[in-house]
Symmetry: C2
Subunit: 212 residues, 2 copies
């Protein structure tokens, strides 16, 4: 029963910033687990180890708290890609790295849960959905398109429409694996299955844009 407990639970007497972080962490967990509608402010307060009134003191209302846990959490997809630009590596190896890290991130339980709640609430919070798309999928497509355009300039590949090609690559990569996990159908894919999907997507994009 000490006076200081720095974990996510129990923020009694800690500084306000820590309390705020504890609330955000708890809200993330509860919202992603239950969805916006089923998540109660009581459950969030309890998970954060504070009273409900404290939650309201920090965030004002339920929708503001929801916005806070979605915003600013831009999926840090592919810090890889900018580095790939202008690199001299084999395109196949680079695309494989990009594909694997993209798919690994997408198949993470947290990413899937975040995707589910944004999809579920996109009509109620259209700006949140737009921000999510802008900071996540759109950024990934833009970055990969830049890389593909670079390969085209360097003569390694023939890519007439880089943005479309990038969207197709990511789409082919998601294929059925992402859909199954998003819907929670069946067991998680094995590492081998993921690797096979990446390899196939890379083969396909290379074949489609092979230089004549």
């Amino acid at each position: 029963m000490g006076t200081r407990q720095a974990t996510a639970k129990r923020a009694r007497g800690a500084d306000p910033a820590a309390t705020r972080e504890a609330i955000l962490a708890a809200a993330t967990q509860v919202f992603l687990e239950s969805g916006y509608g089923a998540a109660s402010m009581d459950a969030i307060a309890q998970a954060a180890g504070v009273s409900k009134q404290t939650v309201y003191a920090h965030f004002g209302a339920k929708d503001a708290l929801f916005g806070a846990i979605i915003h600013g959490r831009a999926d840090r997809i592919l810090a890889l890609i900018p580095g790939a630009l202008g690199a001299v590596r084999d395109p196949a190896a680079t695309l494989t790295d990009i594909g694997r890290s993209y798919l690994d991130l997408l198949l993470t339980p947290e990413t899937l849960a975040r995707f589910r709640v944004v999809v579920a609430e996109c009509m109620r919070f259209p700006e949140l959905a737009a921000a999510f798309h802008r900071e996540g999928p759109e950024r990934a497509v833009t970055a990969l398109a830049a890389y593909l355009a670079d390969l085209d300039r360097r003569g390694a590949l023939s890519v007439a429409e880089p943005a479309l090609a990038a969207a197709q690559f990511f789409g082919a990569l998601r294929g059925d694996l992402f859909l199954r996990r998003l819907l929670g159908v069946g067991p998680p894919p094995t590492a081998a299955a993921v690797a096979a999907a990446v390899a196939a997507a890379v083969r396909t994009v290379l074949a489609a844009h092979r230089r004549d």
Copy 2:
């Protein structure tokens, strides 16, 4: 103020089957528009033009009604594909037809809304999500895989893994268009944009499986 009104609204005095249909139609509208949690039985009853008790008399509980409007509504994707099997048409033309009808169906507001609620509630109703996947996406992949395997046998294409190739084709087809509409980001795509996405996906799959 007549005694018979056969439209979706007002089922007073009509036969039970019509009442049931009116409730199903209203429930579909309300659930797809608001999501499971935000949809109230009051709103459904009102939209159907009956009392709440009548809704309960027919379906017993909210979750049962939700199941009824999702189940049995298997997306009738691609009645095309079975017919394509063994056909002598140009594979490019057939794949273009398949791709266009698939994408057109997926971009329908009703399909998008149904997808959203199933994704949103897949943790609460896992069997419903499994049925949705089985009757929709999985069936489409299976059918296209059969067609691709047939093309491989006939020597038109070289498809080593038909199921993976089919999933990739549909994934590439969805690309960014489906994601944007799912999240409600930006305006709907033009017919030209959809046609371009289909054409690009067809080009890609043909290039990837060109016979050596």
